[in-house]
Subunit: 113 residues, 2 copies
DNA sequence: AACATTTATCGTATATTTGCGATGAACAAT
DNA sequence: ATTGTTCATCGCAAATATACGATAAATGTT
């Protein structure tokens, strides 16, 4: 699994922390449902799970799973207000993601073919 | 599979084309190896597959697979220069991705919890 | 023609993701 | 205490992703 164990090729380097973090954010954004959720959360101040379920063409259990993934990636957070859960963007990590993406996308592209 | 077949919940809407495209780009960027490849391709004008293999801690077959995914997502293109293949960023789709991400990341965030 | 180089593809194994219905947990209201 | 609401989690199935070695395909070199 880890390439430190198998040096049959030039695996001199590992991925940089920045690359791993950017990939983690990107992966979390890599599903239309999760893009839609993020857009909805950004726009709405009322952000209970049930409202999101009504917005999406998938079942409640699936929405919950997507919310979990966004939470694991750090992009959103949820506050319990029984019996509901109020979700919102995690402002700090959103800022970090924004910076990483913008730096990445701003890089100068050389095209040779 | 398709939710049009099972209207047991309010699946009124489908994802928007923009959301699907953004998710597609994000998914392609959702692995550290592919972030590293994109960075390398942006920086280098010599972008043969073999050079990339030397840069990454994974086997040639795996690099080729990642290149294929980036190509399928439209982010890169490859020109054959036998016996090599010269890879580079696809400038047009890169621009599109850039626009979509920047619009998405620029959106105003409401945080209520 | 035989060989070397480069990259894609195949076959395979394993892990992760996506999706659902069913159920459980937490709490408010009755 | 029972009931209703909301959301998470479990258990499962199917699909997709990740990784590798082996091999094929393409073409230049000898």
């Amino acid at each position: 699994m880890n390439n430190r164990d198998n040096m049959s090729h030039q695996s001199s380097i590992d991925y940089k922390e920045e690359e791993k973090l950017l990939a983690r954010f990107a992966k979390a954004m890599g599903h239309p449902a999760r893009i839609a959720i993020l857009k909805f959360l950004a726009k709405e101040s009322d952000c209970f799970c049930g409202v999101i379920v009504d917005e999406l063409p998938i079942a409640q259990a699936t929405v919950s799973q997507h919310l979990k993934e966004l939470k694991d990636a750090g992009l959103i957070q949820g506050n319990i207000e029984p019996p509901k859960v109020r979700y919102c963007i995690d402002p700090e990590n959103w800022k970090k993601a924004k910076e990483l993406f913008e730096e990445f996308l701003r890089m100068q592209i050389l095209v040779n073919c």
